[in-house]
Structures are given as structure tokens and as C-alpha cells.
Symmetry: C2
Subunit: 341 residues, 2 copies
């Protein structure tokens, strides 16, 4: 079984974006603020948007199940206040829930949170609990920079974030640490901000003792861990100078990397440097990079091809494709077992 | 001949830091602002600080010449105003000049600029010209984020920076794109901010047509290019979606990477993915990572060992060690030729 732990609903029907644009207009002019009930997307539209996109590619490429969350770049937590984020997160999560109900064998949900810059993260807990308990979601996406590229929140090691962590531990769910659109002109969203955030989050954990306070907390760092595996020697050396334990003891019981690295040499480095137990298969399909690589003739984000070509034993490949996902997402494992898988 | 293109004066005599601390105190209380003439460092002190540190390690490891600039983390352009930065840059550059005079076979200078957040970069030109024309420096370090982690300046592709580029082209010098200390608690300076800036700078160039305006402009991206080579497929794919030319045509006549990557798999990826003509030997010794790697028994930043072990022909190794540096730093080549090298 092949589980892709990083998929976003990037292909939602146009009505969603139109509603969002009206909501954004409504921030300035409350008289045009749309009601949630004004967004109408039928099951047929949802089905069509998935069958002709993600599900089609999953079948072509040979993956079985996608851990599915709202479109990351559309979270845009920097827009509006908590109420705006809350309404928007509720809508986006519900759509992912409906997709998971329409395609229970192929999609299972992960929640976006109604974060808002400067607002206490504990305000996210009702939406989080609804998604886990009512929708059967198996994890959350946590944005370490709800300001969208201005980095005005404290580091992930700060007690500011502890209410989220306490709830994660209670519900036994991991968080993918995933930023959203950059509204800072310095940072291209998918080419700089995403990768920078991955590196930044890892280093925030490295310099802190967060996992002493939360020994069972689990973070999934997307996009192959940003710059981290490529600079693994640098990070080992920095930890050593800070008198931290070896990274495998200090961080690798709690931090995991996905395989969203879009060429063979990158995947070879990732699987050669990072312990296999810490690598989870993912493609972020359909996401930031949608084209065909002229050097290979295949889609850049067809990451399964790179895993197949990497020097791995069948057991290691199984861990990356399925075993590690079941361990990092215990509720995913439980849901699969309940389906007899 | 082995040229290390990335060395900072991290071992300057203590008097320098003490003077800087007094300068910082003087920002709030002008009555304690020190005069430049109050900083007294003898040639013997300079000699000692180099002979027992950088030069000792260069001899041990077998490199010949270091392209030497003021300590990057101490530039701290976010502190004070232009006048503060200007005085500080003048002092730091002069020390590197004196080192280059004391050890003309082993050190040649690169200038820090007196950047200051919100100040027009053209104010840096007098210091830049002095360093190149009077001190015989061969390049500059350009900080894309003088705010120190708040990223308040426009991207490098913005006309804001053009006065610097015009002068670089006129004087035929490259710029290493190198940030300084982060004063944003989210970003660890050497573990996150440095690498993020490398990735960010590359992406700013990728999304723009900067090198159409300046076909001969040369940027050296340090720390092995941040996350870029590891995600080379991602960047190729993003450029493709933006209808940009292939990266080798779009950027690689102008952008170069150093080898400050502190483990063998990282160097193997760098040299396997990036054309050899775009890779310049460097160690950033003595810099961010000073310890000995327990996995190898050698210093993390002894990057020559990784280049020696990489699958490269003697010709390729020569390019990385010397040939590319002479091409990217034409004034370095001229200075070497004047020495009969």
C-alpha cells in the first residue's frame, strides 16, 4: 500500500475561490461579506474535481491513499482577523471531509487551522477538535508564520504554541509544519518561503528542548525538510557546538521528513542521509510544480519514480510508503485497520 | 593552487568587539560614542590572530589563498543608522586590508558594505570604491536583508539595488550574497537565516530578468546555495512554469555556488547537480561550524576533504579550486598574475 502524506485540495471548484474573494472584499466592506451558506458546491462537482485530477494521477502513478488537506497557499492566515480565518478554515476543512467521504479508500483528511497573526493559538482548538473527532481527520497543518512571510510569531519552541501541542498529544496526531502564501515581496511562496520555513522550523526545534516537554509530539517537515538533509553535517555540527545530544536522539524521535523533492539526486541524498524511519512518502501532487521534466520525460512531482530508483531494500521502501505513515499518524493506522487494511 | 573564496575575519582581536560594543552604546548615549582612533590593534596582534587560526588551518588542510572579508555575523547592518554602519564598515574593511598586506600570499580582501535598513544602497559606493581601488579588494559582500531577519528591503531584482550593480559591472567585481546576524527570534543566524537567504536570493533572480539588464553581473551564493541544489528539480520546474529559459541559460552565466556544505553527501549532490563551472571552493573557516565530526574524525568545515573524495576529474577539481575563482573574480586573477601566479 502506498500512502502519500502530503496532498492539498488545489483543484477545488472555482466557486470556492470566488467565495473567498468575496470574503476578502467583505473585510473592507462588511455589506458585501458573503454567508457560508452562499457557497454551493455539489458532490458531483467535488467528485469531478478529484477524479479528473488527483485520483487520476494517483491511479496512473500507483499510489493508493492521499492524506489530504486544504490548499496550503490559500490558507493565507495573514488575511483578516480570527473570525475571517475561522470561517475560511471551516469551509476548507469541510470540503476535504466531503472528499474523504466520497472517496473513503483514497483520501483521508488533515486540518488547516484558523490561525491569525497575533491571536492566541488556543483559539484554533475547537476547529481542530471538530476535524479530528467529527470528520475523522488524522493530523493538522500548523503554520509557524501566520503573518505570511513577516515572521512575527514566536518560534515553535515558545510556550505560545503549547496549547496546540497539548491537544496534539491528547489526540495523538502529528502536525505538518507548513506555511502559506508569502505576502513579503522578498519571498516567492513555493520557491523560497516554503523551503525557508522548513529549515527554520527544524532549527527552532534544534536550538530548544521542546521535545523534552513533549516527548511524543510529532512534526512532519515537508518538502524534503527544506535545506536540512543537504546541510545535515552543518546541523550536526551546530548541535554539537550547542552541547545538544546527537540529532538522532535530540530530534529524530519527533521530526520526520516527506519526500517532496523533485529530482533523483535529491531523493538519493534524503534517503542516504536521513534514517529511513524518518522519511514518509509524499508528492504534494497537484501542487507547486506541475510540469514534465524534459530531462526524464516524467512529471517532476512523480516522486514514486525516484523512490523506486533509489538504493533501498524492499523493507525500507515499505517503511517509506506505508509503515512510517502508520506510525506517525496513529489515527490513520486505526482508520485503515477499521477498513480491514 | 587552492583558493578558498569564503573566509571571514572571525578571529579579530578582542579590542574590535569592545570598540563595537562602545559604538552600540553610543547610539543611545552619544557622549560615550568612541572615536575611530580609539581602536588600537597592532600588526603583531593581527599577525598572531591569523597565524594561530586561519593560516594555521590553511597550511594543515592545504589551501593557499583565502578571499577574506569582515565577519559576516558582525556586520549587523540593522544596528544604528548609516553613519554607524559606515564607520563600522570602514574599520572592519581596513583590518582585512591590513591582513592582506601582512600576508599578501595568503589573503586578499572582499568588502563589507555600510548598508543600513531603508537607506539608498548608493550610499555604499564610496566605501566600495575605496576598498576596490585603494585596498585592492576583489569583490563585495552584499546583504539582501540589512534589517537582520525582517526582510524589509525590496528583492535583489528591484531597481533599488541597481546603483550597486552598475558599480560592480564598472569595476568588474562579483558580490557574495551574504546576510548578517538575525535579530528575528524565529531565525537562528547560521542555521536558518544564512541558508534561507541563499535560497531566497536565488529565487529572486529566478523570477526576474535581472541578468538581462546586467548580463555580466555575478552573484556568488554561499553555503552551497542554501536549499537550491538539493531542490534543483523544483527550481527547474518552477522556472519552466514561469516560461523562463532553462536555468543554465537563465541564471548560470551569473550565479555561482560555493562549497560550504559540511558533509560528503552534500558535496556529492552539489557537484553532481550543478555544472562544475559554477562551483567555487570555499570552507568559511573559521566560521559557524568549528567542531570535529565524530563520524569522520575530521573538521566539519574541512571541505577540501569532500572535494578530494568526490567523483571529479583532475580538471574539474582544478576548476573548483582555482579556475572558476579566477574567472568569477577577475581582479583576483589580475592580482595573482601580477604576483607571477
Amino acid at each position: 500500500m502506498i500512502i502519500d502524506v502530503h496532498g492539498h485540495y488545489t483543484t477545488a471548484p472555482k466557486a470556492l475561490e470566488e467565495w473567498r474573494n468575496r470574503q476578502i472584499a467583505g473585510i473592507k466592506d462588511p455589506s458585501v461579506m458573503p454567508k457560508v451558506s452562499e457557497l454551493k458546491i455539489s458532490d458531483d462537482e467535488l467528485r469531478e474535481s478529484i477524479e479528473s485530477n488527483q485520483l487520476k494521477k494517483m491511479k496512473e502513478r500507483g499510489s493508493d491513499l492521499t492524506v489530504f488537506s486544504p490548499r496550503a497557499s490559500f490558507m493565507a492566515h495573514h488575511i483578516g482577523d480570527f473570525q475571517v480565518s475561522s470561517t475560511w478554515a471551516g469551509i476548507c476543512n469541510e470540503l476535504c471531509y466531503r472528499v474523504s467521504q466520497l472517496f473513503p479508500d483514497n483520501f483521508i483528511g488533515v486540518a488547516m487551522l484558523p490561525q491569525s497573526p497575533g491571536v492566541d493559538p488556543k483559539t484554533c482548538i475547537p476547529e481542530l477538535e471538530k476535524c479530528i473527532k467529527e470528520y475523522g481527520f488524522v493530523g493538522i497543518n500548523l503554520n509557524p508564520d501566520p503573518s505570511g512571510g513577516h515572521w512575527t510569531s514566536p518560534p515553535l519552541s515558545d510556550r505560545h504554541w503549547y496549547p496546540i501541542y497539548e491537544k496534539m498529544v491528547e489526540l495523538d496526531i502529528p502536525a505538518m509544519i507548513h506555511v502559506s502564501t508569502s505576502c513579503n515581496a522578498c519571498f516567492h511562496t513555493t520557491g523560497a518561503h516554503y523551503l525557508n520555513a522548513d529549515t527554520t522550523a527544524f532549527m527552532q526545534c534544534l536550538t530548544s528542548d521542546l521535545f523534552k516537554d513533549f516527548p511524543t509530539l510529532k512534526f512532519l517537515i515537508p518538502h524534503g525538510g527544506g535545506a536540512v538533509p543537504y546541510h545535515w553535517g552543518r546541523f550536526r555540527g551546530l548541535a554539537q557546538e550547542m552541547k545538544k545530544p546527537l540529532l538522532k536522539d535530540h530530534l529524530l524521535n519527533n521530526i520526520f521528513f516527506d519526500t517532496c523533492v523533485y529530482h533523483q539526486p535529491g531523493i538519493d541524498l534524503l534517503t542516504g542521509v536521513i534514517p529511513i524511519d524518518n522519511i514518509l512518502f509524499a508528492s504534494e501532487m497537484i501542487g507547486a510544480v506541475r510540469g514534465i521534466d524534459p530531462e526524464t520525460g516524467f512529471y517532476y512531482d512523480d516522486t514514486k519514480r525516484y523512490i523506486e530508483a533509489a538504493k533501498l531494500t524492499p523493507e525500507q521502501r515499505h517503511q517509506i510508503y506505508e509503515g512510517n505513515a502508520r506510525r506517525v499518524f496513529p489515527r490513520l493506522d486505526a482508520a485503515l485497520k477499521a477498513q480491514g487494511k
